[in-house]
Symmetry: C2
Subunit: 414 residues, 2 copies
Amino acid sequence: MKSLGVIVEYNPFHNGHLFHLTESKRLTGAEVVIAVMSGQFLQRGEPALVSKWTRTKMALSNGIDIVVELPYAFATQKAEVFASGSISILSGLKCDNVCFGSEQGNIQDFERTIQLMNEHKETYDTFVQEFIAQGYSFPKASSLAFLRLTENKEKVLDLTKPNNILGFHYVKAIQEQKSSMRPCTIERTGAGYHDPEFNDSSIASATSIRKHLFDNSGNIEKVQRFVPEPTYDLLGHYKQHVGSFHQWEDYFTLLKYRILCSTPSELSAVYEVEEGLEHRLIHTMKESSSFHEFMTKLKTKRYTWTRLQRMCTHLLTNTKKDTMLKVSASKQSEYIRLLGMSKRGQAYLKQIKKEVEIPILSKVSGVENEMLDMDIRATNTYAMKFQEPARSDWMLQEFSKPPIRYDETEARSI
Amino acid sequence: MKSLGVIVEYNPFHNGHLFHLTESKRLTGAEVVIAVMSGQFLQRGEPALVSKWTRTKMALSNGIDIVVELPYAFATQKAEVFASGSISILSGLKCDNVCFGSEQGNIQDFERTIQLMNEHKETYDTFVQEFIAQGYSFPKASSLAFLRLTENKEKVLDLTKPNNILGFHYVKAIQEQKSSMRPCTIERTGAGYHDPEFNDSSIASATSIRKHLFDNSGNIEKVQRFVPEPTYDLLGHYKQHVGSFHQWEDYFTLLKYRILCSTPSELSAVYEVEEGLEHRLIHTMKESSSFHEFMTKLKTKRYTWTRLQRMCTHLLTNTKKDTMLKVSASKQSEYIRLLGMSKRGQAYLKQIKKEVEIPILSKVSGVENEMLDMDIRATNTYAMKFQEPARSDWMLQEFSKPPIRYDETEARSI
């Protein structure tokens, strides 16, 4: 079976995702699609709107055949680490292609740019350090350094665009890991405009969908036209059972507790808490009565909002520097955790089983692995939003729950 | 001024406390009374019903002249450490007498028993180890060893009684610290029976008063006849502003978060988490949906309920073994934190000022001290029950709040 990998968060799965999936299948002729998906916490350092299990159901009911979890050690990191973890998993699952959305929309531009960067690595690094010395954040300095390096050069990537940056690291990781996967890309801006089924009014970004939900007290009707029917049903079901969608404010009390009941040296041992920031965290938290207020007061020119949110996520999940550096050093996942599959997905896994070198985990109880312990702590943290006794049931399920099996005969056509 | 020290929790201040205070003053002829009072967490390993500030007001409006805080490092410990910290503070404040309630009611029995114990220390220690080897908890083994040592001896203490145990350690600490304070004791059982103002129906233990409050959804009317009027008014005021009284269940989510989002080695670094208990904590917490359920499942013959509750308090406040052992090694407080005073109390402090060797703190901002940091973390933890923005205001006050000054002309006569 010809296989395609996609790297996703599906927070939540919307019409734009469906368009990307349909187009990717058409372009590559894939018969089976594997999604590597972030777990409970996302790359921007936020809790997912709904749990990874519900997002797995969204994926399966919209045409994905296999959903595997991107471990916390990669999912909550900057683009480079996020990409290397994702690619190691898709490559480990023997995908023929990997297809990502980008503002550029042309895979040759990615390959050409990476070659250029490889040839001028030292000059580029010097430029980055110069911009950092001028007080720019790391992402901004990287972007400015790149602009200077590529001045007057044609057909290079626009690396001020977030999806181009991710794509750049996907392609780079494929090369570095000597993977045989073929990358391809679909233009993201204006995606769907030319397709009769996806007009202007049916596509909205996940960010704007989440904003719609939170601005309307979790009322899901406002987002109905932007999401496929299974997503709409699953959002409704989640809302009914949990009461509301997950957002940072739900975890503010825990974050405050973590910051104000730790010593400065304990805080500085947390991943991404850079030198001296521990005192600023304590001082700022004392005067903040919401997560938004805290972040607004914490923000400086030096650190991006996303960078600080990721740091907060690591504080919340108690992720230490030494552990994170140890587990993410290899840049490759130590296991592949299966969250769900269709019958076709199951057949594909059976087919590739003997070639796969990374252990595939169907459930986590009894497995001892430091990288996996981080996923478990992330799920335990995420579950703190729930009320008892549902919370205990939910945590216990995390250990014993087998992957979701999705019967394709029930699947809605895409 | 002739001064008297009392060691209290006032959780809450009730008629029995008032009786003890009145009797102590009468017996010693004291002109000024100093109470060293536990802060937000108590010796049984529980959060106080109401904050230390409200309990300070209860004390001052019932005839106490000076209220100082017993640091967390002593307040949440077994009797021996609790006593040595308390005595060091009262002695530091130049009290002439210290008066405590006991089941024995006779100070000579305490002195005689301590002398006996000093003379047979080795035999006693051997007995304790024998009973521990038989599987008894430390307090139970101590009590059995003592019974064996004092078989057929007359006029020794009944050390199966909790207040006798505390009193024993007060008198012992006075001797060890070579303090010039004179101890005295008032019989506790049946206290008030002989006094016309305190009949059977107006005295109830703090435990039964708290039970009354929690069994009746915090309805304070049921406890009115057991507490002086200022206590009743202050309980009503607290209930109105905070919504409910503090109890362990309010902190269950934080405890669950602490236990399930820490590594086993982080848990085993917490004070009182004995070898191997960290795995039991994680395992038990996963299956518990309330504090009571958790404790019931955690309880074994080896550890008393109180011992386990204290361990939970240390988990909640993030109190590490190394820090606790360091700060409580000297068995004496490094500072005296003033919570409140009457005019008479203020005059007394002015009088003794030059003789006092331990620093007296009126507020904590700017003071760097590891023992004090524990008090601050305890207050921050305690405040997690509150809703924002009241919580932030409350935490900030902890740093800047001066001692409560109580005008005696307002004082109700006792």
